[in-house]
C-alpha cells in the first residue's frame, strides 16, 4: 500500500508546529498503525533526519500511553480502539492520513506527537483512591460486594488514562476520566465511606487544572478505548451535589 502522511512536527512547547508531508510506499495492511510509524522513522533515521516522536509502550491497548489524532479523530477511525490497536487494513491504498497530537491546553506538546498528560495523574492524586495503608486490610470476604456492584465498578475502573476523552471533547473536559474513577468507588462499599471528600477534591482539582466543562455531547464515550459510560459523569455530579449538600 502507498500511504501519504501529513504529520505535525513541533520542536517543543514554546515553538510553533506545522504539518509535514511524507510518503510510504510499502505499507502492509496487516501492520499496526504504530508499526507504520516505525517504518517511517526507520526511513527518516536512515536519511539522517530526526524521527517523529510519539508515545507508545505496551502496544496491546491497555497501558494508555499511545494516542494521537488520526484524520482528526482521537485514536483514529475505529470506535473504542487505541491507536496501537488500529491496523492499516482500516485504510486504503493511496490514502492521505493526517496525524496530530492531542491539542488541549492541559496537555502541552512535548515534541511532535508527544504530549504531557500529567494533569490526569494530578486528578487521581487529589483523591482517586481508598485511603487504606498497606497492612490494614480486613479479611477479603468480610466485605461482600454483589456481582452487579463488582461488574459495574469494573466497567468504570477499566479506564486506561489515555486522554482521548479530553482530546475529543469540544470543551476539552476531563469529566469522563474523573467521573469513571469517582463512579468506580461510589459503586463499591469500600469506596463509599470517603466518596464525598474524594468527589469534592477531585472535581476541584479538575477545575484548577483548567480542563473544560462537560456539556454532555457524549463524544468521549464513542472514542474511549474502554467504552466507559457517560453516565459515570452524571454519577460524579450526583456524588458532588450530595457532598455539597452535606457540607
Amino acid at each position: 500500500m502507498k500511504i501519504h502522511l501529513k504529520i505535525w512536527r513541533q520542536k517543543n512547547q514554546h515553538t510553533k508546529g506545522e504539518m509535514q508531508d511524507y510518503t510510504l510506499t510499502e505499507v502492509d495492511e496487516e501492520m499496526s498503525f504504530l508499526e507504520m510509524l516505525d517504518m517511517l522513522n526507520l526511513e527518516l533515521a536512515k536519511k539522517g533526519e530526526c524521527p517523529v516522536e510519539f508515545d507508545h509502550d505496551c502496544r496491546e491497548g491497555i497501558c494508555g500511553q499511545c494516542g494521537v489524532m488520526i484524520n482528526g479523530i482521537a485514536h483514529g477511525p475505529l470506535k473504542n480502539t487505541t491507536t496501537c490497536q488500529l491496523h492499516m487494513r482500516s485504510f486504503k491504498d493511496g490514502d492521505t492520513i493526517y496525524i496530530e497530537p492531542f491539542k488541549v491546553k492541559s496537555f502541552p506538546v512535548i515534541r511532535d506527537l508527544k504530549v504531557d498528560r500529567s494533569g490526569l495523574d494530578e486528578i487521581i492524586a487529589a483523591g482517586g483512591y481508598v485511603s487504606v495503608n498497606t497492612g490494614q486490610a480486613p479479611e477479603a470476604n468480610s466485605i461482600l460486594v454483589s456481582h452487579e456492584e463488582a461488574e459495574s465498578a469494573f466497567d468504570a475502573a477499566a479506564c486506561i488514562g489515555c486522554g482521548a476523552c479530553v482530546a475529543t471533547c469540544k470543551n476539552a473536559s476531563a469529566a469522563l476520566f474523573t467521573g469513571a474513577k469517582i463512579a468506580q468507588f461510589a459503586r463499591l462499599p469500600q469506596g463509599k465511606k470517603e466518596s464525598a471528600e474524594r468527589t469534592l477534591s477531585m472535581v476541584e482539582r479538575m477545575e484548577e487544572l483548567s480542563f473544560g466543562h462537560c456539556t454532555n455531547t457524549e463524544a468521549c464515550q464513542v472514542e474511549c478505548p474502554q467504552d466507559i459510560s457517560v453516565l459515570t459523569i452524571a454519577e460524579m455530579i450526583y456524588e458532588y451535589n450530595k457532598a455539597k449538600l452535606k457540607k
Binding site: 522513522n41 497501558c63 495523574d121 487504606v132 456492584e149 469494573f154 486506561i160 468506580q184 469500600q190
Partner: protein, 640 residues
C-alpha cells in the same frame, strides 16, 4: 574468583522462617524515617507498591519510571489473574500445597524459604487489594470468585475480568499517588536510570536521564530499590511492552551485583503468532483461555483446509493426548514446547505455519456463548481487533513467545543484592519461580515483594544507617558515574553508522529465539555466542542514532537498551551452556527423557548460577548458590 554464596535464610521450620524474621527484624523509629530517602526505580506493581508502602511508613521516596505516568508500567498488561491461598473453594488448598505447586512448577530450582514466603503472604495481598477497591470477580452472593490456572489442580486464582494486572496496578498506583499528594513521594516520570552509584561499597544513588530534555541528573538516597521488571524484550518479538528493558539491572550488574539464572525465560504458549517481518511485538492472550479452549493441530502435515472443515478424527488434541491429567492446563513451559514440536513437525497452521489452534467450539456448546463472553469477552474483542477474526466462530491461532524472565538480579532472603543497600524486587530479581513460573504467580510475586517484604527488609537494612547523612551527590563517585553515562551516550550519537538500534535488536532477538529460546543445545549456543559477539562488534562500529544527546531522542534511548542487551545476550547463552541439564523453561536437547521431557540433574546442578561481571562480557565469573531442599524431596516433574 568463583565463590559459594548463601542467602541469609532465617533459621527454623519452613513455616516459621518469615515470622521469625519479622519478629527479629530491626526497626527505624518514625522520626528517623522521615529523614531517610529511598530511590525506587520502576513503578509497576512491585515498584509502586513498595514505594507507596514505604512512604506510608514515613520514608521519603523518589520514584522513577520511563513512561509518562506511573500507571503505564507493564504490570498493567497482565490479564489472567493473581494466585492466593484462600481456599475459598474448599478444594484442598493450603499454603504448603501452593508452595509445593510453585516449587514443582519451577522444577525445583528455587529456594524453599522464598517460595514458601510467597505462598504464605499471598492471602493478605487479596485482603489488601479488596480494601483498595480492586473490583475482583464476584459470585452472586457477593463472595470472591476463583478460576483455575495452568499447572495446578485447585482454583486459587483471583481475577478482574481479563484485566487483573491493570486493576492491581491501579490499586498500587493510586496508593502511590496518595503518598505523592501527602508529599512523601516525588515522582520522576519520563526518567531513565543510566547508572547505579556505589559509595564505599553501598548503593547510594543513581544517574538518570530526563527523557523530556535529555539532561543527566544525579539522585542520592540511603538505599536504592530496582523494580524494573523483566527483560524478555531482548528477544525483540515478545509479549512485553516496547520500552521494557534490562538496562537498570544490567548497569547494576556491571557495578558488581550478580545476575542469577539469566537464561531462564518463560516462553508463553498463548500469544498471537507473528504475521509479518515488520512486526514489533506479539500480543499475549491470557492463559486463562486454556481453561475453556482446547488446543489442537491437524493430524496431517501441511493441511490447507480451514479449521471447520477438518473433522474431529483428523485433529490432534496433543496436550490432552500427552498429558491426560492436566490436558490443556499443563504448565507453560510444557505447553509451549509441545506447540513448538507440532509446528516444527510441519503441522503448524496459519499463513506462516507458525501457530496452533485454540478452539472454543466445545466450550460454547457446553456453557453457552454468553458465559464465554463474560469470562473472556475483552480477549475475544482484542483478538478480533488485531486479527480481524471472530473467535466465537472460528478457533484462535496462537503461538509461543517470550514472556517472563525467571532470571534477574541475584538477591538474598531480604531481596537485597550482593551490593548492600541495593534491593531488587518483582520480576527484576530472580528469586521465587525457579526455572519456570506458574501462571498468575507473577502479579503475586510483584505485590508480595512490594507490599509485604521490602517494607520489612529495607527497614532492617536502614536501621543502622540512621546516623548517615543525606547522600551528597557532588562526590567523586557521582561525578564518575555521570561522566561514564554521558560518554556512552556521546559514543552512540557520534558513531554515525548506518544501522539503527532497532535493526540490531531484531537480529539479536532472532539469534536468541532460535538458539537460546524454547530449546537449546551445546552446538547452537556456541554458534549464538559467536554471532552475538560479531553483532556486538558491528553495533559498536555501525550504529546509527540521529539527533543529539541533550534533547528528546527516542532513538538514543533505544540504543542504550540494545547496547545492554548485546552484553546480556551473551551471558544468557553462557548461562544456558554451562547448565548441562534440562529444567523448566531451560530445555537442553542433549538432556531429555525417552519421551522428550526435561531431564534434571540434581546432583550436579542443584544450584543458582549467580554471574559476576568481570569487565569483559566474554568472561563472566560463575558463582554458585547451592539449593538445599530440607523440607521437600525434589521429584521428576510429571503432568501426565
Amino acid at each position: 574468583m568463583a565463590k559459594e554464596i548463601y542467602a541469609n535464610i532465617p533459621e527454623g521450620d519452613l513455616k516459621d522462617k518469615w515470622s521469625n524474621y519479622k519478629a527479629q527484624a530491626k526497626l527505624v523509629s518514625p522520626n528517623n524515617r522521615k529523614k531517610m530517602e529511598i530511590i525506587v526505580v520502576g513503578t509497576g506493581l512491585a515498584g509502586a507498591s513498595a514505594a507507596a508502602s514505604l512512604a506510608e511508613m514515613g520514608y521519603q521516596i523518589k520514584a522513577f519510571c520511563f513512561q509518562d505516568s506511573a500507571r503505564r508500567a507493564h504490570s498493567v498488561a497482565a490479564q489472567g489473574g493473581v494466585n492466593a491461598m484462600k481456599n475459598y473453594q474448599n478444594d484442598g488448598d493450603s499454603v504448603y500445597r501452593m508452595f509445593y505447586d510453585t516449587l514443582k512448577g519451577g522444577d525445583f530450582r528455587s529456594r524453599e524459604a522464598n517460595t514458601y514466603r510467597l505462598a504464605e503472604c499471598s492471602a493478605s495481598l487479596i485482603d489488601q487489594a479488596v480494601a483498595q477497591g480492586v473490583p475482583f470477580g464476584r459470585e452472586y452472593s457477593g463472595y470472591l470468585k476463583n478460576r483455575s490456572f495452568g499447572g495446578v489442580q485447585v482454583s486459587r486464582t483471583f481475577y478482574a475480568r481479563g484485566q487483573t494486572g491493570q486493576q492491581l496496578l491501579l490499586g498500587s498506583y493510586q496508593a502511590l499517588m496518595r503518598q505523592k499528594e501527602n508529599g512523601k513521594v516525588s515522582m520522576y516520570t519520563r526518567h531513565e536510570m543510566l547508572e547505579l552509584v556505589v559509595v564505599d561499597g553501598k548503593a547510594k544513588g543513581i544517574i538518570a536521564r530526563n527523557l523530556d530534555t535529555g539532561k543527566i541528573e544525579r539522585h542520592g538516597a540511603h538505599a536504592v530499590v530496582l523494580a524494573t521488571g523483566g527483560f524478555g524484550k531482548i528477544y525483540y518479538l515478545s509479549t512485553l511492552a516496547m520500552g521494557c528493558n534490562a538496562s537498570a539491572i544490567w548497569r547494576a550488574h556491571k557495578k558488581g551485583s550478580w545476575m542469577a539464572n539469566p537464561s531462564w525465560t518463560q516462553i508463553h504458549p498463548t500469544s498471537l503468532p507473528q504475521s509479518g517481518p515488520y512486526q514489533s511485538k506479539l500480543t499475549l492472550m491470557s492463559e486463562s483461555l486454556r481453561n475453556d479452549g482446547r488446543i489442537w493441530v491437524p493430524k496431517a502435515q501441511d493441511d490447507q483446509r480451514p479449521p471447520h472443515e477438518i473433522p474431529e478424527e483428523e485433529r490432534d488434541y496433543y496436550l490432552e493426548r500427552k498429558y491426560p491429567s492436566f490436558g490443556n492446563l499443563a504448565p507453560r513451559d510444557i505447553a509451549s514446547r509441545a506447540a513448538k514440536e507440532q509446528i516444527d513437525a510441519g503441522k503448524g497452521v496459519g499463513a506462516l505455519k507458525n501457530a496452533v489452534y485454540l478452539d472454543f467450539k466445545d466450550a460454547i456448546k457446553e456453557c453457552g456463548k454468553e458465559t464465554i463472553a463474560e469470562r473472556y469477552g475483552n480477549l475475544f474483542s482484542m483478538y478480533e481487533k488485531i486479527t480481524g477474526i471472530n473467535a466465537y466462530k472460528e478457533p484462535m491461532k496462537i503461538s509461543p513467545s517470550a514472556h517472563f524472565s525467571m532470571g534477574g538480579l541475584w538477591v538474598d532472603y531480604d531481596l537485597m543484592t550482593n551490593i548492600p543497600g541495593l534491593f531488587a524486587i518483582g520480576e527484576a530479581n530472580f528469586s521465587d519461580h525457579g526455572a519456570n513460573r506458574l501462571g498468575a504467580n507473577s502479579l503475586l510475586q510483584a505485590c508480595v515483594d512490594g507490599y509485604y517484604i521490602a517494607p520489612y527488609t529495607l527497614q532492617n537494612y536502614l536501621s543502622d544507617q540512621i546516623q548517615v547523612a543525606k547522600t551528597d551527590v557532588s562526590t567523586e563517585e557521582f561525578y564518575q558515574a555521570e561522566k561514564q553515562a554521558l560518554q556512552q551516550l556521546e559514543e552512540f550519537v557520534s558513531c554515525k553508522g548506518n544501522k539503527t538500534s532497532e535493526e540490531f535488536h531484531r537480529e539479536l532477538g532472532k539469534i536468541l529465539y532460535d538458539k537460546c529460546g524454547l530449546s537449546r543445545s551445546d552446538e547452537g549456543l556456541q554458534e549464538a555466542i559467536k554471532k552475538i559477539q560479531q553483532l556486538r562488534e558491528e553495533f559498536k562500529e555501525n550504529l546509527l542514532v540521529p539527533g543529539d544527546v541533550e534533547d528528546i531522542n527516542s532513538e538514543l534511548e533505544k540504543a542504550g537498551r540494545v547496547s545492554d542487551y548485546m552484553e546480556l545476550a551473551e551471558l544468557m547463552c553462557l548461562d544456558a551452556l554451562t547448565r548441562e541439564e534440562s529444567c523448566g523453561a531451560h530445555f537442553r536437547k542433549e538432556f531429555q527423557t525417552e519421551d522428550g521431557e526435561a531431564l534434571r540433574n540434581d546432583e550436579k546442578f542443584s544450584f543458582t548460577s549467580a554471574w559476576e561481571w568481570s569487565g569483559n562480557p566474554q568472561n563472566p565469573i560463575l558463582n554458585k548458590e547451592p539449593l538445599t531442599f530440607e523440607f521437600v524431596q525434589p521429584t521428576q516433574r510429571s503432568y501426565k
